[in-house]
């Protein structure tokens, strides 16, 4: 045993020394780049000598196949032809699959790899708190003025934390309008007048009519696991940076007091409404745990409709969803108003990595993705002729006999996640009137009074984990109707308080007040 102890300490020492050496090298790499941000300004100036361009690595998420090196190179070269001229930089494209995007970005940055631009996928706050984003407050005016103008100051506020600007949100239809998506053919058959449906309470009548007329159908399907659409119908609620499916401390309406959503009468009433649906067989029984998303369940033909929120006009939404539901005839009815809060806007934010050595060049390229039609279309669609063809009406489609899986390069499905949506060619459904409607929605949707406030959760991390677990336990059941609100809501609130819920609310209030005072 004595031998064991001696050996153990020897091993640990060796491991630690080797580890220190390893990390020392990693350290110098990242401290070098951090320290060189000042000297980068001089470097950027001097690298405009011909033949030496700034190298910018642009990591974006894709829902399509990742192209081969060769095919990607062609697209890169086409982009570089433009960027060398316009901004004196060369771009390396790094498409990453959506399902591994966040892990790969995290690992790559932590491992010291060169990534200059990346996007947040709903986790803006955590990227900021782990110091992964570069401070672009002072740089944006000089290097990305086009983007700044397109997106607008109030949206940019959503990407600030403590007054520091960390990223640029994507420019796309963001305002989510709650809608009822339903089977048009069944509604016509049963003579249901959908135009009377203007709120979530009105939906009850429709569901009952369907149940009466078609007893074998289940009227309402779940949108996704644990969600039948209630969370998009809370009304004017700002989730203050939390996941909309797990809110902790919210703002209701124009009031800047951080409120417990679950204690409000509004919430209780909504739960009772859904509970009624559940008891009367109007809603899918296993909504809280189902594996199938709405599109799947609707394809089975067994369900009438579901509640969700989309950012496109009614006809477009219905039309685009039809393909997903095995061709059934769908209709969409708006039942509420869109409400913009900070987390809606910064859901997809493009950021410059804190470890970058070319922040100016990175910003300049980012600017191009908002302002330059050629660049954005190269990114999304690839090379004209090889990866797509232009049609007479200005829209694009895949070349004859090809589709998304066979063309050498396409990121078409990322079209809502990169740069400026409104500058892209449209594939298929959308038309100009829709684009206008969407832009209008973006501008006119009601915005939360806390727009621009981001919450830093580091002081209440412990409470967060406990509270999140409590929420996972109760919330899906409550908002899908499988738990009885009369007994369970109180238990829920009690459990939340036990887990430190109030601490989080207090912390949010403190930060919110400070932010308000600083405005």
């Amino acid at each position: 045993m004595r031998n064991v102890k001696r050996f153990l300490s020897l091993i640990l020492t060796v491991a630690m020394t080797l580890g220190m050496v390893a990390c020392g090298a990693a350290e110098t790499a990242s401290t070098d780049s951090a320290a060189s941000t000042d000297s980068a300004k001089e470097a950027a100036a001097e690298s405009s000598t011909p033949g030496s361009y700034d190298q910018v690595t642009y990591a974006y998420c894709t829902f399509n196949n990742i192209p081969t090196e060769e095919d990607l190179d062609v697209v890169e070269e086409a982009i570089n032809e433009i960027t060398r001229e316009k901004i004196g930089a060369e771009i390396t494209l790094m498409p990453i699959q959506i399902f591994e995007y966040s892990s790969k970005i995290n690992l790559a940055l932590q491992g010291g790899e060169k990534i200059d631009i990346f996007e947040s996928l709903g986790d803006f706050g955590s990227y900021v708190s782990s110091d992964m984003c570069y401070d672009i407050t002072d740089l944006i005016d000089t290097y990305a003025p086009g983007a700044k103008e397109t997106v607008g100051d109030s949206w940019l506020d959503a990407c600030k934390s403590n007054g520091v600007l960390y990223g640029i949100p994507t420019m796309k239809p963001i305002a989510l309008t709650p809608m009822l998506i339903y089977r048009q053919d069944i509604a016509d058959e049963l003579g249901i007048d959908i135009s009377k449906v203007n709120s979530i309470e009105d939906v009850t009548e429709v569901l009952e009519a369907v149940k009466a007329g078609k007893p074998d159908m289940i009227p309402l399907a779940a949108v996704q696991t644990g969600e039948i659409g209630l969370s998009t119908n809370y009304g004017e609620v700002d989730f203050l940076n939390d996941d909309r499916y797990k809110p902790i401390g919210v703002l209701v309406g124009d009031d800047l007091t951080v409120t417990d959503l679950y204690g409000t009468d509004h919430f209780r009433d909504l739960c009772k409404l859904v509970r009624g649906w559940y008891n009367n067989g109007l809603v899918m029984q296993d909504a809280a745990t189902t594996n199938s998303a709405a599109a799947e369940t609707m394809s089975s033909g067994n369900y009438f409709g579901y509640l969700a929120a989309y950012s496109y006009p009614e006809e477009d939404t219905a039309a685009s969803l039809e393909a997903q539901v095995a061709g059934y005839d769908l209709g969409a009815k708006i039942i509420g108003d869109a409400y913009l809060s900070t987390s809606d806007i910064n859901a997809i934010t493009f950021m410059v990595a804190s470890t970058t050595d070319v922040p100016e060049a990175a910003l300049k390229f980012l600017d191009l993705t908002y302002t330059d039609e050629d660049i954005i279309n190269l990114l999304i669609y690839g090379i004209e002729g090889r990866d797509y063809v232009k049609n007479a009406d200005g829209s694009v489609s895949y070349p004859e006999g090809q589709d998304a899986a066979t063309v050498p390069y396409t990121a078409q499905l990322s079209c809502g996640t990169l740069g400026n949506f409104f500058k892209m060619y449209q594939m298929g459904v959308a038309n100009d009137a829709s684009l206008e409607w969407e832009l209008e929605q973006n501008k006119s949707a009601k915005t939360s009074p806390a727009m621009g406030f981001t919450f830093d959760s580091s002081n209440v991390k412990t409470q967060y984990t406990a509270v999140l677990n409590v929420i996972s336990q109760y919330l899906p059941g409550l908002i899908c109707g499988s738990l009885d609100p009369d007994t369970e809501i109180d238990k829920f609130i009690q459990a939340l308080n036990d887990a430190g819920y109030q601490d989080i609310l207090n912390e949010k209030q403190t930060q919110l007040d400070a932010w308000k005072a600083g405005k």
């Binding site: 491991a15 955590s126 782990s130 797990k246 959760s457 984990t465």
Partner: protein, 309 residues
Amino acid sequence: MEKTLVKSRKKRFSNLSLALIALPGVLYLIINNYIPMFGVFLAFKKYSLKKGIFGSDWAGFDNFKFLFKTKDAFIMTRNTVLYNVAFIIIGTIVAIAVAVMMCELGDKKRVKGFQALLLLPNLLSWVVIGFIVYAFLNADSGYLNNTVLRTLGINPVSWYATTGPWPAILIIVFLWKNMGYQSIVYMASISGIDKSIYEAAAIDGASKMKQIFKITLPLLKPTVITLVLMSIGRIFYSDFGLFYQVPQNSGALFNVTQTIDTYVYRGLMELNDVGMSAAAGLYQSFVGFVLVLIANFTVRKIDPDNALF
């Protein structure tokens, strides 16, 4: 004198060759396992990407707090340990039983078929297994509710909202996935037993059952002890897939399905906190380590040959 000198030189040479034979494996373990262990420090730091692993600020035990603070913490720990104990006991008994039965039946095609088929469930991923269980248990169209209970005239049960049957369900699923796999280890050991012992016992008139209990089982003791000791070391770990996918992440079941690993996952998914996940890992490792030391020490006292180290 000469003889002892030669002997000790031979011994040293023998030791050296043995050390050399072990060397490649040792090197790999150092590189793959020991060097990265310095990451354990992250459990005590507030990680910042810019400052890197060594530059980030120290956080003392802050990162560990979330593991203890609430009632949930007690529940998750209790669940983890109890399930593991159940798995160790029941799993071992079933695996040995299966292994004994298969070995006794001999080298027939049928036995080979059994073994191959029993192994299949182990090859499936937990996501798929979660779907299968869902296919049986879901309230709307599940096999159990729709077909079995309906023909029996019993009302459908909302399985994913009732906690009662779940410990049994999870143990059954665990056995289903693992009994084929675990029994292989025992089969390998049994096949290493000298057949002549059985022949001698048979000649002496011992029945099959007696042979199993007096010969096979005692000779399996070292394997069982080794496997149990290793399981004790991992007693604070749980198979994430089993406790997250199979109950379909249903909140209503948390009281009986929440383990340390699922709790950490659920809590940290939003926060993306490197320090806290490192702390959770360290907590699990450390407890397992202490328990194994104790267990190993005890085994050493009773049966020194079979201690792990």
